[in-house]
Amino acid sequence: MRSLLLLATLAFPPEFRKAYRSDLLADLEHRKGERGYGLRLFFDVFLAGLGMRFELLRRDVGYAVRMLIKAPVFTCVVGGTLAVAIAANAVILGALQSVIFAPLPYAQADQVFVSTVRDPKNPSQSGFTPPVGFVDMLTHSRAIQSAAAVNTFQGLHTVDGEYAKLSQAQVTPAYFVTLGVQPYIGRFFNASDTQSKAVISYAYWRTHYGGSASVLGKLLTIDRAPYTIIGVAPRGMVDPGFGVAAQEDIWTLFPRTGNAWGLLVTRPRSGASVEAVRADLKRLWQNAMGRPWQSYPKWTQLFTVRARDAILDDAQALWIFFAAAAAVLLIASANIANLILARTRSRKDEFAVRAALGASVRRIATQSVTETLVLCACACIAGLALAAGCMRAAVELLPENLPRVSDARIDGHVVVYVCALGIGAALVAGVLPALTAAGKDLTGRRGGRAGMTLVALEVAAAFALLVCAALLLRSFVALTSQQLGFETRHVYTATFLRKDLFTPKDHSTHGSRVNTALMLPQARRRIAALPGVAQTAISGHVPLADDLEVMTGFWLPGRAMPGPRDQHALADIGYFSREYVPLMRIPIVAGRNFKNADRDNDILVNQAFARKYFGGQSAVGAAIYTSAGVPNATLCHIIGVIADTRDSLMQQPKPTAYWPVSSSAPLHGAAAFTVVMKTSGDDPHLAMEIAALAQRYFPEYRSPRVTSLDQALADNSATARTSLTMLATLAAIALLLAVAGIYGVVAFSVERRYHEIGIRRSLGETDGRVLSRIIGSSITQAAVGIALGVVAAAFGVRAIEHQLFKTQPFDPASFALTAVLLLVCAALASAIPAWRALRIDPARTLRYD
């Protein structure tokens, strides 16, 4: 009982405990005969202790609030900086919460797997979607319970007679079952559904049908194909994919016949391990070789990961922003610690009076921490309000391909996290001043050193952030100054896809060939007649879309035939009409461009191709033997070499061979082709005009997708730009805070030394020496901070390394320039207070005593 009582006395404030503990123990001793007294005593002591503590806290908080109100500038500056830093953290956590932590909205979400086709020799490549026909093979799998395929695409369509941007997904009937999703209303697909059934998203239902239940059974016409709405997907439904935000408006079924490709989604039988799933998929993939729908060579493999991990691929960038925001908060806390420290020192009289009146050192320290806590609590509330207000704008800044990033909001988790941050900031910011306040040394020497240490830490954190931002900037400049090899200004592309693209009957029948011969020139002519269109060409691929086909086998006559997996015999294939090269302003390096009279087996190659396969010799006039481009393996003659062009900013130009579009087979009976056009200016209505034209003259095609190459180029560097913007913003805040920190510390220390400076100057010290002493000491602090910062930057740089393009992670110039920038800022920040000190008449400072 005695030890229990001692434990309960811990609830009392320490002074009280010290004064009355022996009395309490004696009390227990005297009345130990009374039944239940010990227990009653225990509870009484405990409750009374809590009561006393609470009363003290109430008084401390009241006092803190009064003190803060008395110094409004201090409160606003400190609270404001902290609020901004907390808001930045809250926003990033909100995004992380929505992108990474929130589980995918599927039943047992970690039991959903996705697969793509990859070359095992080249695992880093992004992978291709497997043929949909493969899904049927999985019904007999031992490890897989259900499987489905999904293919998502966006485009401009006519929906119920109006042009609209629509995100669409084609799926196999078991798709929603495999994901384990229940419809919000209506039903999902079943095996007997025809292709004319559609499921719409919750958001689409709300915006287009006002959330009315009568939507079921309604007809929705997309590009003049009617669909019956059978169900509404649940709110927040996302489609799995590799790092892509797939929140579709509408889901329809793949056509029953013909070739189609889509991401493979599987759910294992209960108890089946990941390895079993992978092994089974691998085995069945090999069995699938030779099937009519199988378009991949034998050496390809299925790459299978959990749906969650596939989405997280792209979310890594967020962690970097998260660390950067945390660093900013750290700097803000250090700054606040400094300000409070300075204020504590200037309040030494107040503390001395209170100490003389009998307040213990501990009480004064507690009081000081309470003040910081109250301040941080206010900053947390303000920060949360700010974050909630800025969330929309901040989400715009984040990479838009992050899945579910648009769902980011301030939720309970974020609030809890922000509270933890606030307490952390209060501890960081309040403990040091509290120690100084509590210590005997209130005159400042130790406090001054603490302030300098804090400044060095701030400079270190700011340095690390600035170095990362500088590296990203260099990388961005390197990326965007890449030579594409063609002009993008005023160049637009319109991609035509036939509605029956995935039905095989059009593939190689004679009828479609005729169609091709008529269709391509006709489409080109109609578009060329549009106002403002100066030049047009036909292309089999969309420039900058990285969608060139891969030619898997060709060989050079007279050389050994390469093996099926021989990387040396790989090249990309492109198709374009003879107008393409002049339109895109691609230089012809050797030989000539296509002519009207050229045969189907006359080809152009790029410089990379010529270099790789012909070394120093001239490629023009040489021949390659291939089945690509033409129905049977044929000898193709190289008639010209064109300059290298890039299909993506990140990639080096790949060896590519180009066939004239008159080689009709590859264009799949004009099932998919692109009209490239050069306009005389920017025409905002071009897309609409082309859509109208297509609807009028080419009803068998979907509404064409029109993009400008300038836009495609911007999209190409969008992720890099986002990373740069985010990190540069945070680094700029960090720099500002660090400079403010340096200024604060120097200003305060100079103010305290007015007297000393006055004496020195009256003894003949020159203004220059005074200035250089003050500025020099601040530069020394900054230099210490930079030295620490190099270590911190080493970690930061590792984290962003994979985002860097043609930039050394430990780029000496970036490090050196950042260091110089910080030193200059430190010098400037200390120059102002130093200059102010010089303006004061020495006689006045001396009279002060």
Partner: protein, 116 residues
């Protein structure tokens, strides 16, 4: 005059009033004080060290009671006495209670002694 001075303090809690009354009788230490309060109230007001000492601390801070020389038998234990201010507080509370009692009597709420 006195009443206005104590207007923020009165009414006292029963425990506080009993402690003041007990100390008015005799200076004493903590344990004996709690015992005496219990006896005085006929066991109605129970007081343990856990509630007693915070009250004593408060009264010491407010100057109602003061520490006095330790008991001869036990030098470690502090004893307490009523100060002049404490006495005035107790008087004010007693007067307040007497007033209440008078009013209660006028409403016939207080049983009269037999024969009176």
């Amino acid at each position: 005059m006195e009443r206005t001075t104590f207007s923020g303090i009165l009414p006292l809690s029963p425990r506080a009033f009993y402690i003041l009354v007990a100390l008015a009788q005799e200076d004493t230490h903590g344990y004996a004080l709690s015992k005496r309060v219990e006896t005085m109230s006929g066991g109605l007001v129970k007081i343990t060290g856990g509630t007693l000492y915070p009250l004593i601390k408060q009264m010491l801070d407010d100057g109602w009671i003061a520490e006095t020389a330790a008991e001869p038998g036990d030098p470690r234990r502090k004893a307490y006495r009523l100060t002049a201010r404490g006495r005035r507080v107790a008087q004010a509370e007693a007067a307040r209670l007497a007033d209440v009692l008078r009013k209660a009597r006028s409403c016939d709420l207080v049983p009269r002694k037999a024969g009176s």
